[in-house]
Symmetry: C3
């Protein structure tokens, strides 16, 4: 079976940067299959990259190599690394980009990308995607073991956890992502029903007891407006807003046939509350 | 030979939606070859999707699987289907998206995507592209027969035909598509010359007798402006407008080196007339 | 090993043009591997296309087929050609698009794409990417020899060289490219240190003696502002501008964490000077 390399960058696709990375990969491992996850991470936004890597990882084929390049510190002392998880490998800078992956995938080990023979000769100081990370992914796809790249990295840099906490009568979360349609993904998720009681887990997997009744919950926005919980877009009239469990298990906010970010004036980082309807 | 899956969506490429669909496909059928036809269908525009599917289909390799996801009714009662045509298979929602394909490709049968074992487990209600359609395309690419997915669908939903009709002294059509350059594709096409007399076929293949003399035709815009019929862009001066038979056999409108939609103030849906130059 | 075709166009990815070209390629040579280098060349900008082809070519796998379609004269008398270089093949219009490649790759021969059996039947006059160039690339990928396509082309059309010349006390160059981040690539490059003396080669490979001291050089912009030479973005404070040797060996201009084109008011074609700091 041909090895698969799935790629996340903030390089855009207007330039040849991504195409050149792919050229380097196929020059080293011609059998590699390449999947573009996204190249539209906001420039230098490690957190947005970490979110997209986390969101995509559950759907990657087993054994896939995840190549992530969101690297505002390129050319500085931050370490290039390869991470071995139980069912996938990752390659990129050690700047927190892979830290959300750790929530759901067990890390078996991390190694620095130090071996000069596993990079392009004379690497530039501004394009490690081409000179360091793409070659590393390609060599992994040829079967080179992670240990061969360099010394183990005992401690990886971590991003702060997404905001998600029980407060009196509610659960407070934040908006993590706005998609191209204006649908907003919150940090509130993994909702589980125990009878009518709503439980959820935080991002480290711990259960949060919120004491909410799932039959009478709503999502409250920063301006006090509240949205009904629904199943899918068409459950509310065209132009109306709703909250619903999105396709990765997180609560999302949308407007049926519209752009929720624009209509509701919401941005990444805004705080939202899941709470019972007062009666 | 590796099976080919050609994809049309309105998901854009900023998010990981398309990349995740591809991950799901390669997880099920690692040998599949994937072609992005476009992911820039205007959000929810079934008609624009139907046009692009029709326009691309004649150039697809035989045996190709066409995966179309423009699905504003996701999660509602609209049926997910697979269609078998004589030289290709299609997968997507039964909302009219494939109805223009029927003009040129013979439908052998349609089946509902109902079998739970041919979907991802626990499908979401908002991302059938990932949970229902991508797995179906991948299973077809593994050789699963369309019949295995579910019961036959006797009647598919159809879009209205593009406007194309003879009127006294002219043929009336509409603008179907505006490309990224501002070139406009009309519904007037399949022009055939019988000596100097112009004939054309409507979208169902019936011949329309217009009694026009091909040597003296022009294209008249809604504001009365008329464009010469030319062969290619450079047949008119830089900045001048022309009509020409475009690369799919339909009459198109362009400005040599410019943006016809902007320069001429034209939009999708505008009515244009092919008529003889009055003398 | 499967043949690789790397593609550069000005077609954008909103329409199905590129996807249809890929469909045509895989219909002729199903084993071809396809790399998108970029489809965002400014419409009709042969020079921008030539730059991106030059910039990407050094990183392409050996034996790769480079398919370039920036073709404002489509349908006119300009010749479609295939070029054989020592380690790669190219296909596209003979309009100067491949002329920068000649700086670093040895041309073994050029042939016109004339054989009708190696095109699609009844080629359109506006989409040679689909009807002429994609089939040619696919047939080359099947092993058809360049000679089989048509007569040799003794003289290819060439673009003017990028501006790069020594002037008293400085080297004068121009801005060749602005990337999606606002980083600007100049024509000044291939800097070599001979002790402290700076030498560089022009675009034809000839050495330019500028008599500059590498330890005290700066890059002077059209408005007189001067930028320090640095190693990577983070060598200057956030928001500050720098010049540095970019990832293709050319001097580039950036703002750490910002958009240099916008902040500094620079455009493609602007003249810049590398000169010694007066002091």
């Amino acid at each position: 079976v041909n090895p698969i390399i799935a790629i996340v960058t903030d390089f855009g696709i207007e330039d040849t940067y991504v195409g050149v990375m792919k050229s380097v990969i196929l020059g080293i491992q011609p059998a590699a299959r390449l999947i573009d996850l996204t190249h539209a991470i906001p420039r230098g936004s490690i957190r947005a990259g970490a979110f997209e890597l986390w969101r995509a990882a559950s759907y990657l084929p087993k054994g896939c190599i995840l190549l992530g390049v969101v690297d505002p510190g390129v050319g500085t002392a931050r370490r290039p690394v390869t991470l071995a998880f139980d069912e996938l490998l990752a390659v990129g800078p050690d700047n927190g980009l892979f830290s959300y992956l750790l929530f759901e995938h067990r890390l078996l080990g991390a190694h620095e990308l130090a071996a000069p023979e596993l990079r392009l000769p004379e690497p530039s100081s501004t394009f490690h995607g081409r000179d360091v990370f793409a070659p590393a992914a390609a060599h992994l796809a040829r079967g080179t073991s992670p240990e061969a790249f360099g010394p183990p990295v005992p401690q990886l840099l971590s991003l702060p956890l997404p905001v998600l906490r029980p407060i009196p009568g509610a659960i407070e979360g934040e908006i993590l992502h706005c998609d191209v349609f204006g649908n907003l993904v919150t940090s509130i998720g993994r909702l589980e029903l125990h009878g009518a009681a709503l439980a959820l887990r935080d991002w480290t997997g711990r259960e949060l007891q919120a004491g909410l009744d799932a039959r009478s919950c709503q999502l409250v926005l920063p301006d006090g407006k509240s949205l009904p919980l629904a199943h899918t877009f068409a459950d509310v009239p065209a132009g109306a807003a709703l909250a619903y469990t999105g396709s990765t298990g997180l609560l999302e906010i949308a407007v049926n046939g519209g752009d929720a970010a624009e209509v509701l004036g919401l941005n990444v980082g805004d705080v939202v509350r899941l709470s019972e309807i007062k009666g």
